[in-house]
Amino acid sequence: MKSLGQLLSPNQTENLGFFILRLICIVTALPIIAMVLYILVRGMPAISWTFLTAMPSNGMRAGGIFPAIVGTFYLTLGTAIFSVPLGVAAAVYLAEYAPDNRWTQLIRIAIINLSGIPSVVYGLFGLGLFVLFLHFGTSILSASLTLSIMTLPVIISTTEEALRSVPFSFRLVSISLGTTRWQTIWRIILPEALPGILTGVILGLERAAGETAPILFTGASFYLPRLPNSPLDATMALPYHLFVISTQVPGMPILIQYGTVLVLLVFVVMMNLAATVIRSRARARRQW
């Protein structure tokens, strides 16, 4: 019994094969498009100025989701404050200072591991260290610190890549003109690597903004009467809000759920777009 491959000529096999590959790609791509459109269509009716800026009422079943939006904003900001300086500095170390030895290997293994730890385990860690041991309690502070450590690997690896892509000749020339290593990094290397760094930071923060598990026991709360006043307050947050209203609140109007998920989606998509735009504009303007 001849196989199909032998019945057709190589060219015919190739055309058929490519056709099947294309089909499978469509099968992969379709759900993504479908999901986005579905959320867009179902969620648009819920969006109004009130929805975005008013406080919730009637046990979250009416009114707006303003505190959740603000909460996510605070958490993202908090994450950025801790993870960006530390992550960029760590990447500078790896790209510009670190010798090629065992210790550096160890650092890289540590980063790979940090990036693979499940988000809920980060939640446990945040609970154990920040909430309980350091007595920060369930707060924006605890949640941001937890999210920052989770975001570190992304920032470190994209920053390191951006730094390494700056040509070595810049460093050589700068040093030959009588500058110190840090002066070269600060004046030439970092500015040139900035678009790549920004892209990585945005993508890292995008992920942090959408995560629920790390903030479950470290900072997120559902029924909060007021906006948070200080970093030691707990806060509402979009992803957590979505989770609770879609699984744990009886009688939650479906429209509010769709509206919430649309807001979260838009937030994520906008960050994606920002990162993409920065990346392609930098590539076009590259002076080398």
């Binding site: 591991n113 446990l124 994520v268």
Partner: protein, 298 residues
């Protein structure tokens, strides 16, 4: 002026060095705190009973096997979806797609990568679960299968991007040599390029496994959260509970320091160790490949 500058340079260099080593510090911290809160579980209940088959905390049954197997079942199902779809998409993008096709596919995959898992879980509850119930005539759509489908989607971007990297790093000379010998592009892909990218693809799959097992929200929302031992193939169509979902859903209700609390942290240790093993294996595979190709190309 020179002294001031020299001191500043010294301080900055030290800050950078410390930042570099901070990752090691954090991994150790995480492990330490997991152990601190999780090891007492071995005191509260013996190791044997921890690996028992009944998870019923109210009556002090802390057997985590149903949870472990639940995670494995859902992950396996996810791999069956994400590996073929992800690998084929990667091959298409890297070897076949035209420029405009790439400009549609790649952003879509990136979009999928950025979707929060709670959003996928939400869509899962609203659309996928009822669909499964009606289509497969099940008592409930909250099943391991639903979890696998969502997890499969979530894992696809990981598999696509790492496989694509692996395929792109196969030297062009391989492809050119194959074509010069008269092979079609199709034959070149399957007989030459893909085998050369073998270890990169393996890395991609391992990291996909890590991603899938570590996923929390989406599975929590659609798998039904029934901590029962999965039995045979039927388990795919029944509710199940993963390790991650267990921690997420029960942590809010336990008393600090109680045996239940400690066991949840213990599950965290299991997850941590598992991801450690997966990630170290994956990176040693890709290290081996890099060394081998360095030797070949030198």
């Amino acid at each position: 002026m020179n002294d001031q500058n020299a001191r500043r340079e010294f301080v900055i260099t030290w800050i950078i060095k410390l930042s570099g080593y901070s990752s090691i510090l954090f991994v150790c911290l995480i492990f330490f705190f997991l152990l601190r809160e999780g090891l007492p579980a071995l005191v509260d209940t013996s190791l044997a009973s921890l690996f028992g088959t009944r998870w019923y905390p109210i009556e002090n049954y802390f057997g985590i096997l149903p949870l472990v197997l639940g995670s494995l079942v859902v992950t396996l199902g996810a791999l069956l979806i994400s590996v073929p779809l992800g690998l084929i998409t990667a091959i298409y993008i890297s070897e076949v797609a035209s420029r405009w096709e790439k400009e549609i596919l790649k952003p879509l995959i990136e979009l999928l990568a950025g979707l929060p898992s709670v959003v996928l879980g939400f869509l899962g509850i609203l659309v996928l679960v009822p669909f499964l119930r009606r289509f497969l005539d099940l008592p409930t759509g909250l099943t391991a299968l639903a979890g696998s489908i969502l997890l499969g989607l979530i894992a696809i971007p990981t598999i696509v991007s790492i496989s694509e990297d692996a395929l792109n790093s196969v030297p062009h000379s391989y492809r050119e040599a194959s074509l010069a010998l008269g092979a079609t592009r199709w034959q070149t892909i399957w007989r030459s390029t893909l085998p050369a990218a073998r270890s990169g693809v393996l890395t991609a799959i391992m990291l996909g496994v890590g991603r899938a097992i570590g996923e929390t929200m989406a599975v929590m929302m659609v798998t039904g959260n029934a901590p029962v031992m999965p039995q045979g193939l039927q388990a795919l169509f029944r509710p199940v509970r993963t390790m991650t979902a267990t921690i997420a859903s029960e942590m809010g209700e336990v008393a600090n320091g109680s045996p239940h609390y400690h066991v949840l942290f213990f599950i965290g240790i299991v997850l941590f160790v598992f991801s450690l093993v997966v990630n170290i294996t994956a990176s040693s595979i890709s290290n081996q490949r890099r060394k081998r190709s360095e030797r070949l190309l030198s």
